[in-house]
């Protein structure tokens, strides 16, 4: 298999979709720029024409609404928001319209739309050039949300999203753009709603989203040297998310960390921890841990940024504490069992 960068895999998915299906078109800000959306759309306008690659006015609302209208009229649009922060100007079309349409019309209309939301942060960009808002959209019935972390998934999930038949928010983090991995040349789909176990382990489950998946693998390598065997699950789809994969893993490891590089309160991690608490409470031998961003806007100064963002080291620290707690629980339970046995004897 060829090796591609994450950004190249996204571009290849666009190119193959545009090349194979006349209903597909792409609309959004920065699409004719060689750098505005990284290199993920480089020269697509030259290859497919500017009537199918529409660099749009600074109108998130109308652009997204128009993509919905085109989808309802039979097209397969991809609307691109180069920064998720700015996409908030399109919340009405996304939440009130795209997500509702199938339901409110009793299944007689559908919105086969991909809303590509790019997370672009770090580098002292600050509060309005940094946000990862997946949880807001995960909350809304009728929307699907995917967050690929590898080049393979970046391509396969985009193709799956275009043909899902529902509005799918496809979130790519520019921190992943230079990552490399194997990508088949042909078109393929990665099923929406299926997680991937990136590393099997016995001691603790780390469920990670997007950019935190490679960080979790780094953390697992560090922890392995300490004798802690980590199972890493790359969630890939945030909604629907792969409950059975996560629950099976927690029943095996009896410990859970969820790493999501977004705000903690009401976040993706909160939802997963809540579900595990409800459906697999008995399996946990220690309280679950969330490794998330603090509930604060991103600051610009590099020292504040360093304090704010999370990485492999945060997962390592969380795992060490969690394992200690788990062992203590195990010891306490064993001791009380021994005592009970002694009394009974």
């Amino acid at each position: 298999m060829r090796t591609l960068k994450y950004s190249q895999a996204i571009r290849e998915a666009h190119v193959q979709l545009l090349g194979s299906d006349p209903r597909v078109f792409v609309m959004g800000q920065g699409l004719w720029s060689p750098w505005y959306v990284g290199t993920t759309m480089a020269d697509c306008d030259k290859e497919f024409g500017r009537d199918r690659i529409l660099d749009s006015p600074v109108s998130e609302n109308a652009t997204t609404g128009a993509a919905i209208g085109a989808a309802l009229a039979g097209m397969r649009p991809i609307v691109v928001h180069p920064r998720m922060d700015f996409m908030l100007l399109a919340v009405d079309p996304i939440v009130n319209q795209a997500a509702n349409w199938s339901h409110v019309f009793g299944g007689q209309a559908r919105v086969p739309l991909v809303i590509r939301a790019i997370i672009n942060r770090g580098g002292e960009q600050g509060a309005q050039h940094s946000q990862a808002l997946q949880a807001m959209f995960m909350h809304v019935p009728g929307l699907k949300v995917v967050m690929p972390s590898t080049p393979y998934d970046a391509k396969g999930l985009l193709i799956a999203a275009v043909y899902d038949g529902n509005p799918v928010m496809y979130i790519d983090d520019r921190w992943l753009y230079e990552d490399t991995g194997g990508v088949p040349a042909e078109m393929y789909r990665v099923p929406i709603g299926e997680a991937a176990v990136r590393r099997a382990g016995r001691d603790v489950t780390v469920v990670a989203t997007s950019v935190m998946a490679p960080r979790a693998l780094e953390a697992a390598a560090t922890l392995a040297r300490q004798g802690i065997d980590v199972e890493v699950i790359d969630l890939r789809s945030i909604k629907p998310w792969d409950k059975s994969c996560v629950l099976a893993s927690v029943r095996k490891t009896h410990a859970l960390i969820v790493a999501d590089a977004a705000w903690e309160t009401c976040g993706v991690a909160a939802e997963i921890v809540a579900t595990v608490a409800v459906e697999a409470f008995d399996a946990l031998q220690a309280p679950a841990v969330r490794v998330c961003l603090p509930d604060a806007p991103a600051a610009t100064s590099s020292v504040l940024e360093k304090e704010y963002y999370i990485g492999a080291a945060d997962i390592v620290l969380a795992a060490e504490k969690l394992i200690a707690r788990k062992e203590k629980t195990w010891l306490t339970r064993s001791l009380s069992l021994t005592r009970e046995n002694t009394i009974e004897a």
Partner: protein, 313 residues
Amino acid sequence: MLRIRYFEDRVGELVEAGQVKTPCHLYIGQEAIATGVCAALEREDYVWGAHRSHGHYLAKGGDMQAMMAEIHGKSTGCSRGRGGSMHLIAPEVGILGTVPLVAATIPLAVGAALASKMRADHRVSVSFFGDGATEEGHFHESMNLAALNQLPVIFVCENNQYASHMNLLERRAKDNICESARAHGMPGYRVDGNDAIAVFSAACEAVERARAGQGPTLLECRTFRWRGHVGPSWDLDVGVKRKDELRQWLVCDPITRISSVLVQRGVLPEALHQVEEDARAEAEEAVEFARLSPLADPAEMRKYVFASDAEVI
């Protein structure tokens, strides 16, 4: 127009009788606009509406019984009991959706027009909205996007002078909705919205431009909402001004106007009377159909949240 009038009269009565609960925003007094515009369209053309869209649905050819059943929350409704009065659809005649979020379908209409342009299928997309919608960003963003790409879309603003209880001049500095067209680089016309023929003529010109690839048009159709913002009341509690205005507008009833034109042109009063009788009977049959239809099935409450069948590549 009579079909719309009698349908809505019946809906108003059903609301008063407590037999209909879903919020119903009546179109009575504005019938000439939907009728005039839709008469200029083909079946394949797209129509988008808002919260006050019973008239658009009927004028474009939507099934009356399915709408009445929808208003009653029945499984035979045009949205299978999920939409009520404010979410109407009839894809078979080009009504791609009406929703109550003010101005929300304006960009959707632009998108459908974009699809038509890409496919070169010569369809026209019509967006119906009220004067309140022109205060939303959706309106201006959409006008710009449509003009920039020369899209086959017609923006039909039904200026009925009121957004809920607020008169136009309480909401904007000037009574100049039509001028937005010039600002966005498209023609705009102020039309007597109670004159079906004037609306029809203006719509024909706009349709012709759209089909010829000459881009969008704004039609500001001046009219008046007879009834309250929602429900059948006359809404006279919102101010003396409204009461005086209503008195003036009632004598400009669009149906009376078109009827006298037809009689002048030789249509027999008996023929008009027959049309009236047929419209009444049709509305009554729709009520009967709705009453006899089964309610939506609670077990299927989540059924349509997602479309279930993905496409094969």
